[in-house]
Amino acid sequence: MRTGKSRVESVLIAAVLAFAAALCLLPIVHEIALSLSSNEAVVAREVGLLPVEPTLESYRQIMRDGTVMRALGFSVYLTVLFTGIAMLLTTICAYPLTRPELRGRRGIMTFIVITMYFSGGILPLYILIKTLGMLNTEWSLILPLAVSPFNLIIMRTSLSTLPDALTESALIDGASYFQILRKIIVPLSLPIIATLSLFYAVGRWNTFQDAVFYITKQALWTIQLKLSYIVLNNTQPEVFIAEGAESRLSIVPAALNAATVMIATLPILVAYPWLQRYFIKGAMIGSVKE
């Protein structure tokens, strides 16, 4: 392949890619610089890609205000719990759909696919959650999102590439379907499980709309919800003060804003490179039919 292209072409391609990468990277670098700069420098717009008057004051303030760390802790807990439950449900739903013994699986599949395109909207969902008594519990943030049809389809496609013979021979040996799933199918599907876990985890980490509607208890606040409050308090202080908020509680300086964004982004940013190899491998599964 290499011989076909001239050096100039390669350099050009590298330059374009480097430019694109920089476009993605620079805002993050800028945000990091903001979070490490003094408030005065941030307000006067002196901060570019390097911190001005470097200080850790913003991070210190966040540590002092326990609610950010509490929300971060809850978000981590929620994401882990959610991912576990979502993977469990997705797997035990996907496997039967690959088995020819299950009658009507086409119908079931259509039923599932429909939910990808149509939803009842927020109101019926709210009433449902309320009727089930899940308002103000972590379950309102877990169960409604726990099975994503999209992920389910990927999972089913992936499982269906495993040879039928595995299940059949295990059945002959007297294994139950649950044993087969646990001891044969799951160990063989770790790459796709890792990939979908990442899909689920990132999705849960970034979603905040549901917490706005279902959660009023602060103990159940996700970091994204907390972040949205901080950003909003920062952009409309005059509304805030005019409505009587005490300024000592309200004004969150711009640098603090940036620091909170960093804290909310870091955990998932750190997790990405580790999981990336599964990610690519898993996303390719089922893309080519043999």
Binding site: N39, E40, V43, A44, R45, G66, T67, R70, I122, L123, Y126, I127, K130, V212, F213, T216, K217, Q218, A219, W221, L225, K226, S228, Y229, I230, L232, N233, T235, P237, E238, F240, I241, A242, E243, G244, A245, E246, S247, R248, L249, S250, I251, P253
Partner: protein
């Protein structure tokens, strides 16, 4: 005999128990702004005291329903539609209140208010209460707003002094000052100089060009809201106002790239003020303090001294400017609630200045002291001793302000934390009075016409665009361009909406 006594005693006891009032649950909304520790809203000192002082004697169990402030409208609509709205809920969205009132979604509070709301009615006052009347019935109880001003002008005193100029008292003096700023550059800002730090033409200048008007005239104005006070292309005087803006721009007095600044610019003006490049600006109230710019100003420009001014005089010598209506939030009771009477009783109880103060600040001598001016100074306490009230106005929902008997005290209380050697309390007192002087509040239409809800936003966006173009236009082309654009704006719905609003006003004010 003994047995008889026992039996009678038992019967009396049973009767007494049977007659004891049943405990009712009152659900009350509270804004959650995400800035207090967990539990404060539902169970902090004010919540506990309200339960003890109002709840227990009235056999009421109070349940707080926190609602996120940034999403209050969405969440309210959700709860109303799901039949899950608290007994006492509220919103700043006047259009939504009108919609619920006209659709039968709210409980009629007229009778309860007459029976149980004497203190409340006199506290809020008839003017403000009338904003909650729809079709002759009291469907909402608006809070009372203490400070109505919103748009204030500041100028660099140190620059004026350097140039030997007086603090401007008229539009001409102001214009002369900014021209001198530009010509002499007293701050040695060079290319960074921003004689006037406004994004185009400020509201206060625009309002000073409007021809004197009556309330009925203003009923036909498209827009005025606290974020869009100057968005009508056809108010008499608009042409002269924009022509003035065009002149400011042509003379290079406005910021170079003002037309490219984003809506609600949070970067450019703040940075320029922080570095001492700006000569004068008009913006929200005490802008440098609201946005916490003072530390940066003191560092970058220690000689900077800002002074509030009110120079934009109209043809009558007045300085009209957009101000809020005298109301705060709309309190209402959903039609599905069985506790409308309790809500009125509760608000009436709160309207007592003593109760209001206690909810906000706790007890004098324990949680706060009064200073020489009679202002509340919270004590520095720690742990359980703190009267942790969170955002105090969110609880005392009938007052948008501070619990004082005079406006001066309310202003001083609100601005106390800004006072220093350079900016004594008087500066803010002056400023707050200036922003309110000759104020022009929006005119209330209880049932705004459909055409307004359909086209209002579009018309205002369009007007904003046209105004930018007109201010940036070549002065020679201004007149023809304005006439053309004004006609276009009127034709695209402006004329119709204005006529409809005036018709509604006339209908609602027929005596």
């Amino acid at each position: 005999m003994k047995r008889l006594v026992l039996v009678i005693a038992a019967i009396t006891l049973l009767l007494a128990v049977g007659c004891a009032p049943k405990e009712r649950t009152l659900r009350i909304e509270i804004f959650d702004r995400g800035n207090v520790q967990p539990g404060v809203l539902e169970n902090g000192p004010p919540a506990q005291w309200i339960q003890k002082a109002f709840g227990d004697p009235n056999h009421v169990k109070i349940e707080w329903v926190p609602v996120p402030r940034p999403k209050e409208v969405e969440k309210l609509q959700l709860m109303m539609a799901a039949g899950d709205a608290p007994d006492l809920c509220f919103t700043y969205d006047a259009v939504l209140v009108a919609k619920y009132a006209n659709e039968g979604g709210l409980a009629d509070l007229t009778k309860s208010l007459a029976r149980d709301g004497k203190t409340l009615s006199s506290f809020i006052g008839k003017d403000a209460l009338d904003y909650g009347v729809f079709n002759g019935k009291q469907y909402a109880i608006p809070g009372k707003r203490q400070l109505l001003g919103i748009s204030g002008t500041w100028i660099r005193k140190d620059w004026l002094d350097k140039l030997g100029l007086p603090v401007p008292k008229t539009r001409d003096e102001w214009l002369n000052a900014v021209r001198m700023f530009k010509a002499k550059d007293p701050g040695k800002c060079g290319a960074n100089l921003m004689a006037v730090g406004d994004t185009g033409l400020s509201w206060n200048i625009a309002y000073s060009f409007y021809e004197p008007n009556t309330e009925r005239d203003r009923a036909g104005w498209v827009g005025p809201t606290s974020t869009k006070a100057f968005h009508d292309m056809a108010i008499p005087g608009t042409k002269e106002a924009l022509k003035f803006g065009n002149m400011l721009n042509a003379e290079g007095l406005l910021p170079k790239d003002w037309a490219l600044w984003p809506k609600n610019d949070m970067l450019n003006l703040q940075a320029a003020i922080s570095k001492g490049y700006v000569g004068t600006f008009t913006n929200n109230l005490a802008y440098p303090w609201f946005y916490n710019l003072m530390p940066a100003i003191q560092k970058n420009c220690p000689e900077c001294e800002w002074v509030p001014i009110d120079p934009f005089t109209n043809s009558e010598g007045k300085t009209p400017k957009y101000v809020y209506s005298p109301i705060g939030i709309f309190n209402m009771v959903p039609a599905s609630s069985k506790n409308a009477d309790l809500v009125v009783k509760y608000l009436n109880w709160m309207a007592d200045l003593k109760n209001m103060t206690k909810i906000m600040f706790g007890d004098e001598g324990t949680h706060y002291d009064l200073d020489a001016n009679g202002l509340i100074v919270p004590r520095k306490l720690s742990g359980d001793q703190v009267w942790e009230a969170g955002n105090i106005l969110d609880r005392v929902i009938i007052l948008n302000g501070r619990p004082y008997d005079s406006i001066d005290k309310a202003i001083m209380a609100q601005t106390a934390s800004w006072v220093d050697a350079k900016y004594p309390a008087q500066v803010f007192l002056d400023h707050y009075k200036m922003v309110q002087k000759d104020g022009v509040p929006p005119v209330r239409l209880a049932s705004p016409p459909d055409s307004l809800s359909k086209q209002g936003a579009m018309l205002m966006d369009k007007a904003e665009e046209m105004m930018k173009q007109l201010i940036a236009a070549k002065p020679a082309e201004f007149d023809a361009m304005f006439d053309k654009m004004q006609k276009e704006w009127l034709d695209m719905g402006g004329a119709q909406v204005k006529a409809d609003m005036l018709a509604v006003y006339d209908k609602e004010h027929k005596k």
